[in-house]
């Protein structure tokens, strides 16, 4: 009979066993009324999984499945296990997405990856609200009494601002906001530190991962590949080699050309560049203080490609006759600036 409580929830083994043991030990099956148990010969109960509602009452947990069964548990049991069940429910029934970067991101937000983290501790933290930084965003999560989470997104510099002082925006307006700076100018480099301030967004689980990607496209997936050691940076040489059309000239770019562009363009970008001029075995660029370790740049972006092309094409003018693979022009100090 305890199966009727536990099975339809498909709880993880640990939770299920804990519940079953507790219920049996406590002798919590207090009442049974309505229809009799279909009995061992009947498949009726198995053909269609019963919809079971678990109701926490002042005196314990009440389980109803079509009014056939009724259970009650002592307060202590409820208090002890409710976080386990509601947390499980949130992640299994509300969020889902096992094995996806988005799920990993949402769990990281709550510090699930932190050692010595317990659900009780996490639930206390979530009640007060937890915030993490993602580029120029601050992403906060808090739970309500049922274990459901709400998320909020703001500019990191607005983290301490009173909510009423910030404009509540429509999530559908976020891509627009992310493409323009405070002056209304186009913001092609998404990693630049020019994200607009003065707004906030309240979101659910599905909404927050979309919103973060609207501001920093593909950042969650790239972060996830990086932290699971599956990120394979694409060297500039590789990027150049597959170009066609007017970008074919990227193949003529020297290390000096690329280093110069990296110095100019990437210095405005919050992302941590992990691609190198060539080869994948080079040491990764060490994270500088202004870089956000979580935003990862695995391949030269459209802006860098365009800047490098401009340099190559300019160098190709009649006044320049030097080869582009001439790395002798690159001083060691030049090189260490961009590709250290």
């Amino acid at each position: 009979m305890t199966d009727a409580l536990v099975e339809p929830l498909e709880a993880p083994d640990g939770v299920r066993a804990a519940f079953r043991t507790t219920l049996e030990d406590a002798g919590v099956v207090e009442h049974r009324y309505g229809q009799a148990d279909p009995g061992p010969g009947s498949d009726a109960a198995h053909d269609e999984p019963a919809v079971v509602s678990v109701v926490a009452t002042d005196s314990g947990v009440r389980v109803d499945d079509d009014d056939t069964h009724r259970y009650a548990t002592p307060d202590a049991v409820v208090d002890h296990h409710a976080p386990l069940v509601t947390d499980w429910f949130y992640w299994e029934r509300t969020v889902g997405g096992h094995g996806t970067p988005e799920r990993a991101f949402l769990r990281w937000l709550e510090g699930v990856d932190v050692a010595d983290q317990t659900i009780a501790k996490r639930y206390d933290d979530l009640w007060k609200g937890l915030c993490r930084t993602w580029g120029q965003l601050t992403v906060c999560v808090e739970r309500d009494r049922t274990g459901n989470r709400r998320y909020e997104l703001r500019h990191v510099e607005d983290a301490a601002v009173e909510p009423d002082a910030l404009r509540q925006i429509d999530p559908f307006d976020l891509p627009e906001l992310a493409r323009t700076d405070e002056d209304g100018d186009y913001r092609p480099l998404r990693g630049s530190e020019t994200l607009q301030r003065g707004w906030r967004l309240r979101l659910d689980a599905g909404g927050v991962v979309r919103a973060v990607d609207d501001v920093y496209p593909a950042s969650i997936a790239t972060w996830y590949r990086d932290r699971t050691d599956r990120l394979e940076p694409v060297s500039f040489r590789e990027t150049a080699a597959r170009q066609t059309g007017h970008l074919r000239s990227l193949a003529d770019a020297s290390r000096t050309d690329v280093a110069a562009v990296v110095r100019d363009r990437c210095s405005d970008c919050l992302k941590r560049r992990v691609w190198e001029f060539e080869g994948s075995d080079s040491d990764r660029v060490s994270a500088e203080s202004t870089r956000d370790d979580r935003l990862v740049c695995p391949e030269a972006c459209a802006l860098v490609r365009s800047d490098v092309r401009c340099r190559v094409v300019d160098d190709d003018g009649p006044d320049h006759d030097h080869g582009h693979d001439d790395e002798s022009e690159t001083s060691d100090s030049d090189r260490s600036d961009a590709f250290s």
Partner: protein, 286 residues
């Protein structure tokens, strides 16, 4: 108001697999377009269509990807988690980008399991013929006494490419379709980079009312500057009334109107949906 942790309250769960979970995404679509890192106008219509699609309960995931701005094609593809993924090229025609760049950039790296379907571009869809007609007629007001295509001449303006014959096909097809629909219609295709050139629009028609409809997706330099100049209009004199053309002028006693590009037409989002449906049918039929 302060909250305090409490677990002894009423809560009711009705677990059922029918409730979709936030991160379980079945059908994903990526709107792939050219974009520009210089002007936002190129990507604006793409974001507009993504917004339209996101507001509708069709796809579980709607993303945009660009060649010349962030996020890039490959980057976005790696970030989509939907089970079934479709890339709809928001391009005006077949050509270099749909045949060369997109397939190349969307090829999964070795060892990565990948199934993504690239649909036909939106620009070649027969439904776009209707959008061109609607663009051409919507610029007239009631007192202009223009009722149908027979009263005007329509120039479908496209990019074209001298080294790629596929590029011109879409505009020519739309022109042909409009002509066969209405024998009195005067509709021709003109191109920036191959003949017949945009500069030949006026001499090609003898009607007094000429409407030029750009078969472009983005509102980049070609649409906002090059084409109006070639038509003899002043690109800086933009009409900010949605009911009229973006540019208009009297040239040699005739009126030339220049419309918003096809890419900004709201119904192009529907064309994108249709492209995915077609691709789905192809997939299941084969």
């Amino acid at each position: 108001m302060t909250k305090s942790p409490s677990h002894g309250h009423r809560q009711q769960y009705r677990p059922t697999n029918a409730t979709p979970r936030a991160l379980d995404r079945d059908l994903g679509v990526v709107l792939a377009a050219h974009g520009s890192h210089r002007s936002r106008g190129s990507g604006d219509p793409v974001y507009g269509h993504a917004r339209r699609l996101r507001r509708r309960p069709i796809f579980d995931e709607v993303q945009v990807a660009f060649w010349q701005e962030e996020p890039g094609f490959a980057e976005v593809l790696r970030a989509t988690t939907a089970t079934h993924r479709f890339v709809v090229p928001l391009f005006a025609s077949e050509g270099y980008f749909t045949r060369t760049v997109l397939p190349r950039e969307l090829t999964a790296p070795p060892g990565v399991e990948d199934d993504v379907t690239i649909t036909d571009p939106v620009g070649t869809a027969p439904a776009v013929t209707d959008l061109i007609a609607s663009r051409a007629l919507e610029v007239f007001r009631a007192d202009d006494a223009v009722c149908d295509l027979a009263d005007i001449a329509v120039a479908i303006v496209a990019h074209g490419a001298e080294n790629d014959p596929r590029s011109a096909v879409a505009a020519a097809d739309h022109a042909q379709r409009l002509r066969s629909h209405d024998p009195n219609a005067a509709v021709e295709a003109f191109y920036l980079e191959e003949p017949p050139y945009v500069s030949e629009v006026l001499e090609s028609f003898d009607r007094r009312q000429i409407v030029a409809v750009p078969l472009f997706v983005g509102q980049g330099g070609h649409v906002t500057t090059d084409v109006p100049e070639l038509l003899g209009l002043d690109p800086t004199e933009r009409i900010d009334d949605a009911a009229t053309a973006t540019h208009a002028g009297k040239i040699d006693g005739r009126t030339v109107r220049y419309t918003e590009p096809i890419g900004t037409h709201p119904a192009l989002a529907d064309v994108a949906v249709r492209r995915v449906l077609e691709a789905t049918t192809e997939v299941t039929d084969s």
